[in-house]
Symmetry: C3
Subunit: 340 residues, 3 copies
């Protein structure tokens, strides 16, 4: 395999970056500031790592104009160094090759429709009336249930489950262990026993979405559960039935969203956040990690309710005093009524 290589001049021109230093220097890969050698390109976008700039052996560093002052070697200056780096790094990625065709161990229902340009891996099962469009990659061990559609160019890396009535847009990528379209959690108490509320809806995922490993997106009770285009979910996330998530929203790992909540566009939801059901979260809302959202949020902005860990002894004292707030504080005015 021939490793590609590029000069600083070539990269500057290709990605409209400003060159500082020697344009003839040539790199054949990318690495971190701390570990890059003379033939590698590194980047600086998180101030946390600025101190590594002085000692880096990277042949080229991608960074912003401000930090460029500190570099003695060759630099490529970008408005957004992380974006520039992502594009350069992609030049050095060797994408796995997936030949079109159906592996002989795959089990395909005769009523399923498989594009001749799709790749269906080993030990995949595809049920009745499913449709796999052009250029898709269905990785080993995946299970595609009845009436599911995988849009053109989408990739199910391996061992993904689409249960039923799941429709994926184009160029969507789903990581192993993810489960889309399982029954929503709908129960009604009838004479001391739970009865199951039928989950008749489906799941609709837009174009260019990414769904992390072991993440679950339940199908709707009546309408669909919906992710708009370019939604990005990390691993181990729970999306309840009839949730809707607006375009370009990103959610970090371990977060859970209860049923029927609607989240806007361009939201950033941290990890381990819990969002209650039947809420409305507007556009451009940021929720910091480990917070709980129990009311609708209509204004853009940053929200949180998490507390950083400290020494346990100090924390136990704080909790004890927190509890005593209740006993100690006299009720002094009307606005001190208990909320809700």
């Amino acid at each position: 395999m021939n490793t590609p290589s590029y000069t600083a001049n070539e990269l500057a021109e290709r990605f409209s970056l400003q060159l500082h230093g020697n344009g003839d220097i040539r790199v054949s890969g990318v690495a971190t500031l701390a570990r890059a050698g003379r033939t590698q390109l590194a980047f600086l976008s998180n101030a946390h790592y600025r101190r590594q700039l002085a000692d880096t052996h990277a042949g080229i560093v991608v960074l912003n104009a401000e930090d460029a002052e500190a570099v003695s070697g060759t630099a490529l200056v970008a408005k957004n160094p992380y974006v520039a780096f992502a594009k350069i790094a992609a030049l050095f990625e060797t994408p796995a090759h997936h030949a079109a065709g159906i592996h002989p161990t795959a089990v395909i229902d005769p009523s399923a429709e498989i594009s001749p340009t799709a790749h269906i891996g080993p030990l995949v099962s595809i049920a009745a009336r499913a449709r796999i469009e052009a250029g898709c990659m269905i990785g080993a061990g995946s299970v595609i249930g009845e009436d599911c559609i995988v849009g053109a160019g989408s990739e199910l890396i391996a061992r993904v489950t689409l249960v039923t009535r799941v429709r994926l847009g184009q160029r969507t990528r789903i990581h192993p262990g993810a489960v889309l379209g399982a029954d929503g959690f709908g129960l009604a108490m009838d004479a001391g026993h739970w009865i199951k509320v039928p989950q008749l809806g489906g799941v609709s995922i837009g174009d260019d979405c990414e769904i992390g490993a072991n993440t679950c997106i339940d199908r709707g009770a009546l309408d669909d559960t919906v992710l708009d285009a370019d939604v990005r979910l990390d691993n181990l996330i729970q999306v309840g039935h009839n949730v809707r998530i607006g375009a370009h929203t990103v959610i970090a790992g371990g977060t859970g969203i209860a049923g029927s909540t609607h989240i806007g566009r361009y939201c950033l939801i941290g990890g381990h956040v819990g969002i209650a059901g039947h809420l409305e979260i507007g556009d451009k809302v940021t929720v910091l990690g480990k917070s709980m959202v129990s009311h609708s949020i209509r204004e853009p902005g940053q929200y949180s309710s998490s507390i950083p860990a400290v020494d346990s002894k100090a924390w136990r004292r704080t909790v004890a005093r927190l509890r005593r707030l209740d006993r100690r504080t006299p009720r002094t005015s009307n606005h001190e009524q208990e909320p809700e």
Copy 2:
């Protein structure tokens, strides 16, 4: 496929509901208040959606007596509209058909016992001494380990793992990615290294349980991990070894229960709750989402410790003042000793 349809009269009689309005109106499906058309039935059970009542185009609405006043069209009045709706919706569900028999790609150990009325899907693996009873559905890609029993009428939707010594009751439903019977997390520190404590127990699941996608229930160290009948677990839940959960208890997504804790009957545990090990939680205990339970709870009632998110700036000030409680408050009396 013929779509079934029912008149308001027929539904009123069949489910003992009180009819308001035109009994001849006929519906052939169910939908939400907001999206239902003239030939669909909708319901109102959550006050949050009451405002949609005025504008709905639903042919029939199921609701309680109080709300029925507000409906101009046809209504079916129920004591518990959600239960009534669940039963009506089931009339319109087209259950997937699973023919009895073993798919030729399934791998079955000769010592396993498979009922002739069970359906074993493609690419399933069933190990030594396992037993699959009458009418079961074992979905694609599931793995049934040694000495597991799947009780009559149970369904493993797809890609479920029963590791070893897992016994399921009747009519239990398990969603994709769930793992029952993995080793409990038992470790002992011996001369600077961890040694594994053998996990010799199993998992015992009662009748009519439901286990969500990617939920994990570890097998016991000595005795079994036990779920009684009609326990309902959502997705991505962790149930540690030797936990016991009483009948009719419901647990929402992302909750974790550490080893050897016992939970009573008819409990309602919210999402993202953490419950420490070796506790006793009594019957009819409700724990609100994202709370932490670190002590036994013997009285029925509602418990919580979660804090709703607010604007991050305000929250940072609150956390700063919370920490200063400690410094600011004089110790004034005996009962202010640090707890535990």
Copy 3:
């Protein structure tokens, strides 16, 4: 199958324990204090169960010197009764037998290297350039991606996914549903759309590690994500890209660690803990369950920020007063400036 049995004398000698009482008593299994019979051995290591000592019917009890006073029957006294019990219990474990060889339904790429002493179970898929070393057990339905290495004596119980560039040490055990080597969650916002940052690193797992069911360990962006030897992870844990975890560290279920954080040796991290990205956690740090770690921790010790649940009414009053702290407290001195 012949059940093995041992006398108290034999066990005392084999594991260097001190015998109290009748050395001829013989046991053929282990059980809890509460359920053990005359032919079983039980143990006491958690003070919570001390009250069961008086009523146990166990033939032999393993405990520490202090508790031994309270036993009338036969006792084996150990410095660490849990370690002694773990070793004794292992005598009664009947390990599943996995014959060397490749199941005919497994799909193996011709360029993969499989040791003749490895066991490859049914419906396993192994991709190009993977290597499975001596004595490994690859359980049913597992997927081993390109360029992965499974070190000698390691066990993938069932339905495990190694995506790509995952290298496991020796004697490592991975439970069902775990996903190692999925893309790290790297995104950069470019003109209103997210672009994917290539994830070019791998995952490196040391010897004697254990990875729980449905746990996810993402592969690194540039360098590897690394677990050193004897790291023990419970179920449903998220380990972000480029995290490093030091030897002998244990992490309980549901915890998440964001990208590029480094955790030291001999740490104990509780369940449902959230650890932010780009932090340094030193050696011998204990973090209690459900805490949030948002700053680096350099000193050994115990840290927390979680609040135990109480009656919801009392809790709502506490939250209301917590919010009013902000309004009520006069700013009195310089050190009351808002932090960070």
